[in-house]
Symmetry: C2
Subunit: 142 residues, 2 copies
């Protein structure tokens, strides 16, 4: 897609600090990093999000995410690493081309943010959750 930033990186029309590249996936440093080693793994082919990515690209991306995460862990010894994949603007997706964030953590900021979010959020109404398991199961095994 012509106007897709990640398609243009995948086609080498836009520069990026590319760490790893294979037939189906590419990994490069995020250009607005949250932390040292913050990287993105993208499908070289265009898929908007998780709902439409095919098996081969999905598997290759997660193989590369494991490889790069393990390598970052060995080099920089972060306290932890989050692997995050966002679908939809309200879930933090800003570029609508399937990608996975690898975010090394060197302090407790992520846990503190999770706690703050947990304190603020509206409690889940458990009565509303009762049928959820049945609803999802019945779609998966009709």
């Amino acid at each position: 897609m012509e106007n897709c930033q990640f398609c243009n990186i995948s086609n080498h029309r836009i520069a990026a600090d590319i760490i790893y590249e294979s037939n189906l996936a590419m990994c490069f440093l995020d250009n607005r990093p949250i932390s040292k080693g913050h990287s993105l793994v993208i499908a070289k082919e265009h898929f908007d999000n998780l709902y439409d990515i095919d098996d081969e690209s999905l598997y290759e991306i997660h193989r590369v995410a494991r490889l790069v995460s393990t390598t970052i862990n060995q080099i920089y010894h972060p306290l932890g690493i989050n692997v995050v994949q966002n679908n939809g603007e309200h879930a933090g997706q800003t570029i609508f081309h399937y990608h996975v964030h690898i975010i090394p953590r060197y302090d407790d900021s992520y846990n503190r943010a999770l706690e703050a979010m947990a304190r603020k959020r509206v409690r889940v109404d458990l009565s509303e959750l009762g049928p959820v398991g049945n609803e999802i199961r019945s779609r998966l095994t009709p």
Copy 2:
């Protein structure tokens, strides 16, 4: 592992609201859900985290995560879905058995938390980031 909660769920020794099960993976509702449909996909075999999971389990988990996310999206039409995999206590991992969170979002709370975290965090020292690409690349292609 005897004392691992997710091994015990995988072996059906501890009950869970299981949505989907295959030879290598299992998906069940989180018992302290953040939102309607919050689910976990686990490897049935024990792996501590991303660094030690094998190909087959990794691929199967992400296949199941795509299947369940797509189904939740079709049933509940959330505004977005985050797929999150945490490695290490400081990255929010509380059970040390590889698992992926599927978190549907029905409001903007996640984006607001990301913004709050961005405001609070120490700016990344870009001079420190200069060699990062080279350091990671040289490990990946020695």
